[in-house]
Every structure is written in structure tokens, then in C-alpha cells.
Assembly symmetry: C2
Homo-oligomer: 113 residues x 2
Amino acid sequence: MAAAFAAVGGKWKLTLIYWLAHGESHFAGLRRRAAPITPKVLAQQLRELEADGLVERTETGPVPAPVIYRLTPYGETVLPVVESVRLWGEAHLERTHGQVAPSDRMSCGRAVA
Amino acid sequence: MAAAFAAVGGKWKLTLIYWLAHGESHFAGLRRRAAPITPKVLAQQLRELEADGLVERTETGPVPAPVIYRLTPYGETVLPVVESVRLWGEAHLERTHGQVAPSDRMSCGRAVA
């Protein structure tokens, strides 16, 4: 059963899918947003998402040209799941810390509209 | 935003919540089911779930008496989220491998009924 949770269950996968739902990004951009995550772990999570067909990786030229990541149409089928986790998580943050950053709330609304 | 995903975003957290939705369990029972996970990682994930109020830990006596883990009522509020991830994950497994173990399907149906 654990296998059913594996494709999106990595610590950063839902967050990465959520970010990519706002638009494609190059690796450096994801890395900046994912501050505490190491580049190695970030690359590994992206590789797994790519292997599962959720994320597509496009090289824009020879190294060091940026590599662009975007959600595939199949990856977009995860967005309702991401939204259900996000809504619960946001309520959880409010319960725990009593607040959620307004900008987060807004960008979330757009992400899965 | 990543914080909203953290409480259930650990690699094993959704799976652990799903298992505990079927009934309380002692550590050794969870460890048996979570075959590839190390005891250290399992204990860490359980500690985080407990710190977030999702799981409750009861010592049944002095060591080595079993320690029982169960979902809290608050932990049960995550079950619709677990179910949305599970349904997507099961469809993903069918897409990827063309099959899902029937016993899994049955136990899942009961879990969140």
C-alpha cells in the first residue's frame, strides 16, 4: 500500500508540484525557493517526479544553460490532491501558529483555480 | 508555503496515518509493516506526527512493554486528505504497473468509509 503514496509522498514533492503549478521554473529558481533543501535532494526529488511522468525537464542548451522544469498534463492531475493537502496544512498552521501569510493564501487560490 | 505541506509531507507520514486509521498499533507492528523503513526513521516520523497532535503515544508499562500508537481525533481530520492521495496513487500504480493488489483495494475502502 505504501507504494500508492510514494509518487507524491516525498518530503518535497507536493511542494515542488505546487510551485510548478504556478509556472515552469529553472533549477536555480526552485533551489532559491526551497531554501533548506540541499541541491542534491532537490535534484533527486525532481528526478523521481520526472520518472513518474509528473514533471518534464527541458535542457535549453549545453551546460551551463538553464534546465527548465514544468508540470506535465499528467502532473496536473495531482493538483486536486495538492490542494486538499494544502488546505488541511494551512488550517493546521493556523491552529498551530495562529496565522498564515496572506500572500501564500492568495497565490494558492490562483494555483488550482 | 512549504510549511503547509510539512505536517503530512514526510515520506512515510501519509502511510502511517493510513495504517493507524485501521486501528491502533504498537511500534513493532508498524515496524513490521514498514519493511524498508529503518526503526530510526520510523520513530522520527512518529515523533513528528505526535508533536503535530496527529498521533498519540501510550506507554503500557515500563520498558520493554509495548508502546501503543493511535490516531487522535485531530489526526482523523487528515483522513480525507489521505484518501485523496491514496486514490490518485492507486490510479497512478495502475497506470504504471497495470495492477493494484486486491487486498489493498479492499482495506483502503474500509479505511476511510
